[in-house]
């Protein structure tokens, strides 16, 4: 019936030459080109935002253009410098601390890095959660809600079981957190597999449902902290806390759990038969079906595990930082997870790196604001721009006139509201 579609033809029978080391290195460089150029472009645009949002800049520009530009560039460098030092610490700070030999001083010098790790921890989990969905062709926009439900379960396990040794209590609380998030991910997975309900809408709705659920649970006697009228939970027992990595710093073993989770997801996706199915379903559902895989099982399982990972993000915040649940524990970590998964091309290793980057931005933003007065939200702008460039390699190609790979790691997931 249909004649051959010549557009689908490929030149046939050609021999592909073996790549040399140089070619392969070039390939790696091209792979890195997009994220690096994306960050660079985002920082440049961010600089413009800093300068143009300075009301006095325009007044000075008319009076003394050269001086105004100089001040502007100085201001940008100062802001980015503060951001950098807030995220990684300053070389002079380290030098002075080590010179003093005072352990307290040395610990203090590492506070910025500790804060970066702390901020990166939940991001690793939510990034992994979103990435796992992407790999199976699903857009889990509900990591935020799953995070909260996970935190709710984790907090409960944290305060409800007294008298357990930490090596039982902590895993128990972690497991409870995973379970809560998994439950919140299972529902959209099931609905998608059974009825074709688009997971984007269902997870958005479940986010709001989760917020209400948290507001409710924080007022339930037995969950709400005694003697308090504001919505706050009981304090998780110390036996369920993540111990600090180094005494005196806030970074804790939750970060290590994040690294373990990244390894586990990496194993699941790339070493296990299940992950093989996830990825096959994500890339080509009809091919996966023809090969005997079940699209429904993969969808449900992937959403459930994805939700569980997001639940761990909430648990890591409660057990590692706040030790009790409030409705404000997540400052948009679930949505940052989308950015991180996009930037990392849904690869677990990349997610750890991207989380560290975004964590550093978050950690450095507070000192940047207090020192230079440039608001924290600059990093959100930078994040948005990074995703934009990463998700549209054609943009980078046009801007810098270089060859970059076409793939974005997003080829898998469904377009529009289609099933």
């Amino acid at each position: 019936m249909a004649e051959q579609r010549p557009a689908d033809e490929r030149p046939t029978g050609e021999d592909v030459p073996r790549p040399s080391v140089r070619v392969r290195l070039a390939g790696i460089a091209r792979g890195l080109a997009v994220p690096v150029l994306a960050i660079f472009s985002a920082l440049v645009i961010g600089a413009f935002v800093i300068v143009l949002s300075d009301v006095t800049f325009f007044e000075r520009l008319s009076a003394d253009p050269g001086g105004a530009l100089g001040t502007a560039i100085g201001g940008v460098l100062e802001a980015y410098g503060a951001l950098f030092r807030g995220a990684l610490g300053s070389p002079t700070g380290y030098a002075e601390a080590f010179a003093s030999g005072d352990p307290a001083q040395i610990t203090k010098a590492f506070v910025p890095i500790s804060e970066t790790l702390l901020a990166a921890t939940p991001l690793i989990f939510t990034g992994l959660a979103v990435a796992l969905g992407f790999q199976c062709g699903l857009f889990n926009i509900g990591a935020e809600g799953q995070l909260y439900v996970g935190a709710m379960f984790g907090t409960f396990a944290g305060f409800a079981f007294a008298g357990l040794p930490w090596f039982i209590h902590l895993p128990l609380a972690i497991g409870a957190g995973f379970l809560g998030g998994a439950l919140w991910g299972f529902v959209p997975g099931l609905l998608k597999a059974r009825t074709g309900a688009h997971e984007v809408i269902v997870t958005i709705m479940l986010n709001y449902t989760a917020y209400r659920l948290i507001e409710y649970i924080l007022k339930v006697p037995g969950y709400q902290r005694e003697g308090r009228n504001d919505p706050i939970s009981k304090v998780a027992l110390e036996s369920s806390w993540f111990p600090p990595l180094i005494e005196g710093l806030r970074a804790n073993w939750g970060f290590v759990l994040g690294l373990v989770a990244a390894l586990a997801v990496s194993w699941l996706l790339f070493r296990s038969t299940r992950g093989f199915e996830f990825r096959a379903v994500g890339f080509n559902p009809s091919g996966a079906r023809a090969a005997g895989m079940s699209i429904a099982v993969s969808t449900i399982l992937a959403m459930t595990i994805s939700g569980g990972l997001a639940g761990l993000a909430g648990t890591s915040i409660v057990l590692g930082v706040t030790h009790s649940l409030t409705s404000g524990i997540s400052a948009g970590f679930g949505f940052d997870g989308i950015a991180i998964a996009l930037m990392a091309g849904s690869r677990p290793r990349g997610i750890v790196l991207a989380s560290l980057l975004f964590g550093a931005l978050r950690a450095g933003a507070t000192p940047m604001q207090s020192i230079t007065g440039v608001p924290i939200d600059l990093v959100v702008v930078i994040q948005a721009l990074v995703i934009m460039f990463v998700a549209a390699p054609a943009l980078v190609r046009e801007l810098y006139r270089i060859r970059v790979p076409e793939t974005t790691g997003l080829e898998t997931f469904a377009k529009g509201w289609r099933v």
Partner: protein, 426 residues
């Protein structure tokens, strides 16, 4: 053989329809049980609930006596109604009238809840209804924006960002120029510009449309918060627009109940009504709309009759952005009076749900927005009421209903067939 060929698709569709029918039936029965056992149990037997139907302090208009109902009886009656409808739904379904039945059940259940919450005291029902419409306004603007984009085949998940950008620019330009109209125009332009970015990313760079929308949302949230703290904190005079005043329409605003709800608002409310009518007319009764819908349903067919698919999509996305920008301005110029960080609070996403819920039609979207607006209004009023009410569960209802609708009825609610699909010429 001939007959079998014709019947076959219907049989397949029917199986899905039966499943939807069952889902809805079970939902109704659960609601009946909740009304009877949760709400019916908790109140004193003789208590009655009083609903005020005339706005407090309203001078003109007709005097409407408050509605007084016996609490327990009302609740049990409603539980019975829900159970009966649920049973019928399970056994034989309602065919094409399922939407009406769904509406009846939801409204009845909500009324039962209000009766329960207001048992033994009086409550301003008209106040809640007025607030419902006000809360529904920005949601509807967002939903209309979605309708404009998605009817042409571009998924717009960036409504939230456009609302936020509109709110911000409306406040700043409105205060800066001292002229609200200019503020409104600026909000529309900024919304349109943001939509332009979405259009370029989605159409020119063929970026996944959901990702592109997410980028816009994050960008808008970041930029507005950034500028709010960097500029507006130091220059408070840039964030003090005068709100548009209410313009009660003569005569119409005196109609009982409907008057205070729909004809006593400010310019945004009337703009919205005009827009709903205009978009409905344009989409379904004009050449413009026929072409837009053709592009959203079957772009190749549109192309073969000489319609410019990509241009149509660019234009509609930008128009959608303008509508969302205006809706955003409602937050600052129509309601609150000044910009606050993240003040849209997810209304854009709710608007998206309202659009789907409303079947990608302007009127349906408005009705769905009213449902969500009602939930918002209840939340505000119930907290004032101060009762130890687990209102959170009621507030979940619109979201859960949306899930049920999307899950159970997705085959019935027809989306534009090419929604979200980039178009490429051969």
């Amino acid at each position: 053989m001939t007959a079998a060929v014709q019947v076959a698709p219907a049989v397949i569709v029917d199986r899905a329809a039966i499943r939807r029918q069952r889902i809805l039936g079970v939902v109704y029965l659960v609601m009946a049980a909740a009304a009877a056992f949760v709400l019916g149990e908790g109140i004193e037997p003789g208590a009655s609930s009083t609903f005020l139907l005339k706005p407090a302090g309203s001078q003109g208009g007709l005097d409407i006596p408050p509605l007084v109902v016996p609490a327990t009886l009302t609740i049990y009656l409603i539980a019975g109604l829900c159970a009966a409808l649920g049973a019928i739904q399970l056994v034989r379904g309602f065919g094409s009238r399922w939407t009406v039945v769904l509406g009846v059940v939801v409204v009845a259940f909500v009324f039962a809840f209000l009766t329960w919450a207001g048992a033994g005291r009086s409550m301003s029902l008209i106040g809640i209804l007025q607030l419902t419409v006000q809360k529904a306004l920005p949601i509807t603007f967002g939903a209309l924006s979605g309708v404009l984009c998605e009817r042409s085949g571009v998924v717009n998940i960036a409504i939230e960002g456009m609302l936020l950008a509109g709110a911000f620019s409306g406040a700043v330009v409105g205060s800066g120029t001292g002229n609200n109209i200019i503020g409104l125009v600026a909000a529309a332009l900024v919304g349109g510009a943001l939509a332009g970015v979405l259009a370029v990313l989605a159409i020119r760079y063929r970026m996944n449309q959901i990702v592109a929308g997410t980028v816009i949302n994050i960008l808008a949230a970041g930029l507005t918060s950034f500028l709010a703290s960097r500029v507006l904190q130091a220059h408070r005079e840039l964030n003090e627009p005068t709100k548009f005043a209410s313009i009660p329409l003569p005569l119409l605003s005196d109609i009982p109940i409907v008057g205070p709800m729909f004809f006593s608002g400010n310019i945004f409310m009337y703009m919205l009504f005009v827009l709903i009518g205009l978009i409905h007319w344009a989409l379904f009764h004009t050449r413009w709309g026929l072409r837009v819908r053709a592009v959203g349903e079957h772009p190749r067919a549109a192309d073969t009759v000489g319609i410019n698919v990509l241009f149509t999509r660019y234009r509609n996305v930008i128009l959608g952005g303008i509508v969302a920008g205006v809706g955003g301005a409602y937050f600052t110029l129509g309601s609150t009076g000044s910009f606050v960080h993240d003040m849209t609070g997810g209304r854009g996403f709710i608007g998206l749900a309202a659009m789907i819920f409303g079947g990608w039609t302007p009127i349906g979207a408005f009705l769905a927005s009213l449902v969500f607006g009602f939930a918002d209004a209840l939340q505000a009023r119930l907290s004032i009421l101060g009762a130890a009410v687990p209102s959170e569960f009621l507030l979940m209802v619109p979201y859960l209903v949306t899930i049920v609708v999307v899950a159970g009825l997705v085959g019935r609610v027809r989306m534009p067939a090419a929604d979200g699909m980039p178009y490429e010429k051969e």
